[in-house]
Each structure stands twice: as structure tokens, then as C-alpha cells.
Amino acid sequence: MRLVPDPNPPRLRVLWVSLGAIAVALLIAGAVFAAYGLSPLEAYRTMLQGTLTDWKGLSEVLRRTIPLLLVGAGLTLAFRAQFFNIGAEGQLLMGAIAGGGVALFLPLPPLLSLPAMFLAGVLLGGAWALLAAWLRSRLGVNEILSTLMLNYVAQYVLIYLINGPWKGQNVRGFLYSDEFAPYEQLPTLPGTLVHWPTLLLGVVLALALQVLLTRTTLGYELRVVGENPGAARYAGISVPRVVLVMAIITGGLAGLAGVGEVAGIHHRLLEPAQISLGYGFTAVIVAWLARGNPALVLVTAPLMGIILAGGDLLKISLNMPFRVIDVFSGVMLLCLIASEIFVRNRVRWGRR
């Protein structure tokens, strides 16, 4: 068996390799279940039955899908531009902070409140990513490190605020802000935590980004910058400008997701780990699976949603340890990255 490099892999092969990677991940995770003493079939049956066949389960999948969709769609764009944004978690938190700040302290007419919260979230989330993008274009700072580290800064900014100036009145010293007013809370589908306005926003934006990427000049520039920065420069494309615009979009979408979480589910600011259950990191898998196509995130985000909600079921119904979900997504990411070699290369059988 030999690997022959193939710079332009056919779409079908990308699909097959991705599906193959998922299948391998499911097999490995199944082996982990078996080692734990649980039949893999039983585990997968519980996960699928509990998430896809009843409304309660489906609503849990949707709830997880919302932030993954928004963050994931933004990340596809970043990855297309070869900007490895590992800081979506922090951008999401900054969005939550901005949205929460507007909700708590900016007296606005009720009708304007929610739009203003979303806008503030987009701006601060975008600014957070912009910081890393600017550092890269100006000083050549590696964006993987800067975005990752900015996550911690965002976490501590949030903890400082709810532990200090923004601490709520009736929370007995615990780390919460006050509750948002009813008109600052997003409506949900009855009986669930699915804040549908954010979901709708996610679907629209994922499609819009696809159009932006494939049908506009900016999208074209972005793809060129990603695939060949040297050629982009030669063609007169301002690489820093493209990267900065892209950073605002990817960070802004993460910020939007943060506002959705606090305005739709928690209705207040609280500890970082409670606001985001690692959506910024899980969305990396979502974006990777979508292979840089924002519209495909509409498929991959619910897929990760099923895994997250299904993992909860393993925890609730089968009393498996809560880390099982982390194992699952870890194996998934590992398989996807490893499978990359089969996308970029053709497999040739035989000696020559």
C-alpha cells in the first residue's frame, strides 16, 4: 500500500473518509464501553433512542446544537483562512459578558434590549478574536497560542465581574449576577430550553456565510489567503485586512452564541464552566467535520449535539461516569485529524 499525494481530493472521497473516521471513532468508543462492562450496542441504542425518538431528547439535542452551530459556522471561516482559532470559548464568554452587561446595566426600552444584547455580544466577541488576529498580522504572534490563552483571560474577567462589581444582590455570596428582566430573556419552545430565536439566527447565518464564502469577493479573497498567502499578496489582496475581517466574523458568531446561552437558558451571568460546557472546543470538531463549509455545519452541529445529549443519557440512564462524553469527543477529533492523511493522499494498492 502506498500513499500518493493528491492536492485536489474529489468531494466524494472527502465524504467517505469523514464517514469512515466517524465509524472508526464509534468502534473505538464502543471498545471503551465494552471495557467498562457495557454492551456497545446497548449504549448506542440508548443514545439514539433517547435523543431521536422522543421530543424531550430531541429538544436537548437542539439546545446543544444552537451554540455549536453558531460557533462552528464561524470557525469554518477561520479555518478556511488558515487562522486556527482555538479561542472560541473565550469569545463566547466575552459575548456573554457583553450581553449580560447590557441586560443588567443599560436601561433600554424592552423592545430594543435583546437586539442590543446580541449586538454587544457580537462586538465584544469579535473584538476578542480581533486581538489575536491583530497580534498575528502585526507581530507574527502564533494565533493558536494567543487565542488559547485569551480563553483564560476571558474566564477570569467573567469571574472577576460576578465576584465583584456585578455580583447579584440576593445570591448569598455565591458567584452569580442578578437575574435579567423578563423582557431580556429569550423565548423558548414550550417545556424545553431551546431558545429558538438563536437557533433561527444560527441557521440563517450558517447559510449566509456559505454565500459569503463562495459567492462574494471577500469570500474569494479569504479562500486565496487561506490556500496561498503568497499568491494572495502577489494578487494585491491585503492579507491583514482579510484576516481582521474574518476574525471579527468568527469571534462575533461565538459572542452571539454566548448571548444566546445567558439570555436563553441561564438568565443571568454565572461561572464560566456553567455557561459554556466547552462549546468553543467542541465546535472545533464541528467545523473540522464540515471541512470548511459553513452550510455543512447545519449537519455536523446536530451530530455533535446528539453525542453531547446522548452522553448525558449514558450518564442519567446507565450511570456511566460523566467523563464518558469527553472520551467520546476526544476520540472523534483524533480520528478526524488522523483521517486527514487519506483526504490529502490517494491510496494505491500494489507495489507500483
Binding site: 424531550k56 429538544s59 436537548e60 439546545r63 469571574i159 465576584n163 465583584g164 455580583k167 448569598r172 455570596g173 455565591f174 458567584l175 452569580y176 424545553t192 430550553l193 437558558i265 441561564h266 454565572l270 461561572e271 464552566a273 456553567q274 455557561i275 460546557l277 448525558d312 443519557l313 450518564k315 442519567i316 440512564s317 450511570n319 461516569p321 460523566f322 467523563r323
Partner: protein, 384 residues
Amino acid sequence: MRTRWLLALVALLLGLGTTTAQDKKLKACFIYVGPIGDVGWTFAHNEARLAAEKAIPGLETKYVESVPEGQAMPVIDRLVADGCNVIFTTSFGFMDQTLEAAKKYPDVIFAHASGFKRAPNMATYMADFYQVYYLNGLMAGALTKSGKVGYVGAFPIPELKRHISAFALGVRAVNPKATVNVKWINAWFDPAKAREAAEALIAEGNDVLAFTEDTATVVQTAAKKKIPSFSHYNSMYKYAPDYVVSGQIVHWEKIYIDFLKKVQSGTYTNKNLQNVDYWWLLREGAVSLGAQTGMPINPKFVPALKAAKMTVNGKQVSVYDRVMELLKNMSSAKPTFDPFTGPIKDRYGVIRVPAGKTMTIKELNEMKWMAPGVVGQVADEPKQ
């Protein structure tokens, strides 16, 4: 003849009644905020769940660990669908959602730990340590040579304020000049931060350590530097048998067993829990003194504590005897001693508990001030 038939019928109905009552299975479900392996809060609740399962025949239990705070509702939905008729939510952060769930499922009984909101089908419960902290404070006051006792705290919430204050009152009862130096780590479970705080306290000259957070780190760090410490929440004797003096241990099972038995017998229903608030202390056995159950004081430290003297009502007594006497008093059916008996001033000199008064449960739950002897910045503290 007719009366005999009637009697038989009544007996039959009664019989049926009892069998249906027995048939109705009791299924208690627990929602934990952390992982069951945390050697702290959640571990203790889970141990108590297992103990309750053993103690109550026919009781079935189930748990869900590491439930994020904003997301208790979907889990409660699942548990109710799964046939749970009693649900315990074991974190302050679950309060509002538990209340919401109690309205949504009026037939299910809910109990929420450490909160203050109740409903006809929602009770609250708490096992509190302040008495035990006072006893540990007495011992710490006797053991410190530098007059500086270190304290690692999680968050400046009322629970910790009353614990640290009770501890400081104990320390000062033995050694009126000693200080209790507090460092906050702003986390319940963060071994790295706890170690940093403990090491800093030792470097600053504190030679006895106590703490309130969910790891055994402080005990381990103190042992490494050969310094005595007081354990917290669960048995930590095994981590440092030569250096753990005593500590506080929780027994949630006392509350769970009592509550569930009363549900089983029909004393508690989904209509009469509005005023059911368990506030259980030494008297009820919900907490105990020691670094290990059955060992109130590590035998290694008994001679030193017997040699240390303190003044009580003008008389010289050994610290060991005083601890044992107060432990017996507060564990009895009618305790006459309470650490928060006035007159008590806060550390800025403002009278907080007038002479002859003791603090009410409500006051303890909302406590903001700190007792004299506590050193270090404390958030949300009244200055006047």
C-alpha cells in the same frame, strides 16, 4: 351477622389499603453538581445515598453526577419520567430550577440542599458545621506556637463566614492574641490553587492549617511541611495520620434516612413541606468531630491538648477536657452551649450578637460579618 360482614369488609379494605401503600415504590433520585469522586461535597452525598439505600428496605435510588447548574431541569424531566418520586438537588445553584420543577411536577417530592426557597412539595435541608469548627478552633489555638493559624477558604459566602468566625472564636478562647489568616481560592475544587494558598500561609508563619474547600490538598501540603492541620468534610485521616489533629465530618445519611422514612410513612407528602427545613447539627448527628469517624481527636495530639490550659469562667481547664465537655453538651438532646452566644463583636468592634442572645438560623444563613482575630480581606463585609 351483619356487623361481622361489615367488619370483614373494613378489614379487607384496610388490608388492601396497606398493600397498595407498600406497592407504591419509593424511588429517591439525587442530582449532584460535581463528580462522585471529588472527596468532598458530592462524594459525601453519594455515600449518604448508599447508606440510605441500605437502611431503608424497598428504597430504590439513582443519581446523576456533574450536572451543570443551568441544566437541572432537563435532568429532572428525565428522572420524573423514570419514576422518581423523591428528588434531592444538592447544590445551591439548583435552587430556582428545583422550585420551578416543584411547580411543574406537583406529585413529586423535592428537597433542595443549602437553599432557602420552599414549596408545598419542596423542602430544604442542610447539615452545618459551625459548632464543630468552634471545637477545632479551640484545638488550633492550643497547638499554634506562632499564634498564627492559616485558613484556606473557597468563597466568601455566609456558610464560610460563620465557619471561619466560629473557628476564630474557638482559637481566641484559648489564645486571645492569636490570629486566623484567611486566603480565598475562589473555587470549591482546585487542588493547585489550594496548594499554593496553603504554601503561602505556611511561608507567612502560620503553623496550624484549617480549610473549607473540596480537596484534601491542605492536609497533604501541611503534612509535607510537618505542620498540624484539620481535615474537612470527609475522613482525611489516611492522608496524613501523623499530622491531622481533628476535623469535621458530615453525615448526610442522617437527614436522608429521616426524610425518606417520613415520606414512606406518609408523614411528609407533596402538600405539607412548605415549612420543612432541616438544619441539622451535632445534636442530630448530621455532623461529627474528627478526621475519621469514631475518632474525635487523633491520639497523637491528645497529650499536647491535655497539657494545654485555658480559662473558662475563671477556672483553669485543659483544652482537651473543654473540647470533650462541649462536644458532649452540643451532641446532647438539649445543648446549653452555642459558639455564637453574645456578647460578640465583629472584627471592627461592632456588637453583632447582644449579650444573652444566640444567633438565629436565619442570621447564621445570612451572616456577613467576621469575628475578631480573622485577618485578611473578606468580600461583602459590613464595616459599621
